[in-house]
């Protein structure tokens, strides 16, 4: 089928799904408003001492981590609701009666997930911090870039898992691992493989091992943990996003991008491969 025939069907599904997020939008507005009210005095007092805002590694990390956590949760919950819920309830049986293929369903569900997550997390992230922007304490464009980057790379992680599920379904002739499970797995994996998270996990392991050996960990042990974290972090789309932001904000100079090209190429391969093989999938994989 041509794209001009497919797009209206994809949009019909997206439209149906985003219509279900009305209550969630209302809840987020309330939560964002409450937080904005609570942080307003802090923003106002910060505005009393005008300084030029500068980015450092130590300030970018927490904001990026908060945004990544927020958008990651939103993506996982939204995708599980619009796609996982549809499979669980069986309503997907009605959708597959129409001329859509597995890719159309994946694109529609990812599209609705992206739009719902974008709206909800933007309301929460910028609603809660609105006083800081209103009083000129923080630069809005920079925070918008952080937010969109975190959402974008989280979305890439999710999409990789979803399309990889098509590859597995093609070879096993059934949905061996559902797009929801694999997408969520990739999202969580991507978060755990960031330098900060991987370093934290490795450090915990070192502490536990040293306790079992009844000796204190050495600085070399922690340096090894950091080296390990830096090595595995190239696999995480969140890490790619952080690198782009840190270079954009002038924290780190450009260089060393060669290491991340292989994981990026593999990610693209998974998405393209999943798309190509998804065209050949019979849709009863969603109902068996």
């Amino acid at each position: 089928m041509e794209w001009r025939d497919r797009l209206p069907l994809i949009w019909a599904i997206v439209r149906k799904d985003i219509g279900r997020a009305r209550n969630a939008v209302f809840v987020c507005i309330v939560i964002g408003g409450v937080f904005a009210f609570l942080v307003a005095p802090l923003a106002l007092s910060s505005a009393q001492f005008p300084t030029t805002f500068r980015w450092f590694d130590s300030t970018l990390r927490p904001f990026y981590a908060v945004s990544a956590a927020l958008t990651g949760f939103a993506l996982a919950i939204a995708f599980n609701t619009v796609h996982g819920g549809e499979i669980h309830k069986g309503t997907i049986r009605s959708i597959i009666l129409y001329p859509v293929d597995a890719n159309d369903i994946a694109i529609a569900k990812l599209g609705s997930t992206f739009l719902i997550s974008l709206v909800l997390t933007t309301i929460l992230f910028f609603g809660a911090t609105a006083p800081f922007f209103a009083f000129g304490v923080w630069p809005f464009p920079d925070f918008l870039a952080i937010h969109l980057m975190a959402l974008g790379v989280g979305f890439v992680s999710l999409a990789t898992g979803v399309f990889l599920a098509h590859v597995l379904a093609h070879y096993t002739k059934r949905m061996a691992i559902s797009p929801v499970s694999l997408g969520s797995l990739f999202l969580v994996g991507s978060a755990l493989l960031t330098e900060t998270a991987a370093n934290g996990i490795a450090s915990q392991v070192i502490l536990l091992l040293s306790r079992s050996r009844d000796q204190f960990p050495t600085p070399e042990d922690f340096r090894a943990a950091l080296t390990f974290a830096q090595t595995v972090s190239v696999l995480s789309p969140y890490h790619w996003g952080a690198r782009i932001l840190s270079q954009g904000f002038g924290i780190f100079p450009a260089g060393g991008e060669l290491l991340v090209t292989i994981p990026i190429a593999l990610t693209l391969l998974a998405i393209v491969g999943g798309y190509v093989l998804g065209k050949k999938l019979y849709l009863d994989v969603f109902t068996r």
Binding site: R15, K89, T91, R93, S94, D284
Partner: protein
């Protein structure tokens, strides 16, 4: 031909759902697929609609080769499967509007199409009700409205009349016949053979994945049933005596003025009137008494059914 299927085979781990199924459906006909539970009816519909991959064989549905373009074929189909799972949180109008979009209707015409479908199925008064609050019969009508929204050439209907009340069944038969009269075709499955005689043009019986008989009601009755008639006569005693001269399997009295006779061969039917006239008995009415349920019973009978119909598939 709207459907040309040949050698369709589908095996699941524990059963062969389709075994070399071949069938043809013409434009403007209602084709009924009948068989016991688990015979392969639904699998056949799923394969023809490109949802399930056959292990072997191929089908061309509405000009689309199903194995080459399994998802494209559904552009030409309106599909209702048994046990639908609709969106319970949507109102009826939202539900139908969504599927009107999925059927490819442009936004400008959706409201009109949905109104038309709701009027047709007499569910307009329910348009603000959530699907989850509809009765089973109302849900079935909502599902039929969804199907009829599709600009389809062929309707695949799995048990379309289940849960629908008698008035609506009669109306539905009219709606579906009207659909067919406008050039569309219908492939439907049902367990209600009596009701199907009011709508089906050609029948196929399937068992253990194999098509065991195909034909019109008349062809199947003539092929599979012993010729049996109900006679209404003026003098039952004289008629019973006269009918002894006609070679028969069974001969019995029915109600007042009625006689049931089962012949050994169909050509002997002509002798009935002759012997009654010779005996001076008036024959007021003579009608064949075989039903499609008798055909089904004949096909399912142990030792005969589902091996092969006599004389092969019509």
């Amino acid at each position: 031909m709207l459907v040309q299927a040949s050698g369709l085979t589908k095996t699941y781990p524990k059963a062969r759902a389709l075994d070399q199924v071949s069938l043809e459906i013409r434009e403007g006909e209602v084709f009924g697929l009948f068989g016991p539970n688990g015979a392969g009816k639904t699998t056949c519909l799923r394969v023809l609609s490109g949802i399930t991959e056959p292990d072997a064989g191929d089908a061309i549905v509405c000009g689309v080769p199903v194995r080459e373009a399994p998802n494209d074929v559904r552009r030409h189909l309106g599909i209702l499967f048994d046990l639908p799972t609709p969106y319970e949180g949507m109102t009826l109008s939202e539900y139908l509007a969504f599927f009107a979009r999925m059927a490819g209707h442009p936004s400008a015409s959706i409201r009109d199409r949905v109104s038309w479908a709701m009027d047709l199925l007499v569910i307009r008064h329910l348009y603000e009700n959530r699907i989850g609050r509809l009765s089973m019969g109302e849900r079935q009508r909502a599902e039929l409205a969804r199907v009829l929204l599709s600009p389809a050439q062929l309707l695949l209907l799995d048990e379309p009349f289940s849960n629908v009340d008698v008035d609506m069944r009669i109306a539905l038969r009219g709606i579906l016949r009207d659909w067919v009269s406008r050039g569309g075709s219908i492939l439907f499955t049902s367990h209600n053979l009596i009701e199907s005689e009011a709508i089906v043009d050609r029948y196929a019986f399937i068992h253990l994945g194999r098509i065991v008989a195909v034909g019109t009601a008349r062809e199947l009755k003539e092929t599979l049933l012993a010729p049996a008639y109900q006679l209404e006569v003026t003098d039952v005693e004289k008629a019973m005596a006269a009918l002894e001269k006609v070679p028969h399997q069974t001969l019995s009295r029915g109600g007042p003025g009625l006689i049931h006779i089962g012949l050994l061969a169909r050509p002997d039917a002509a002798k009935i009137a002759k012997v009654l006239v010779e005996a001076g008995v008036d024959l007021l009415e003579m009608k064949s008494v075989g039903t499609m349920e008798d055909v089904y019973a004949r096909l399912t009978r142990a030792g005969y059914g589902f091996l092969a119909p006599p004389g092969g598939t019509p």
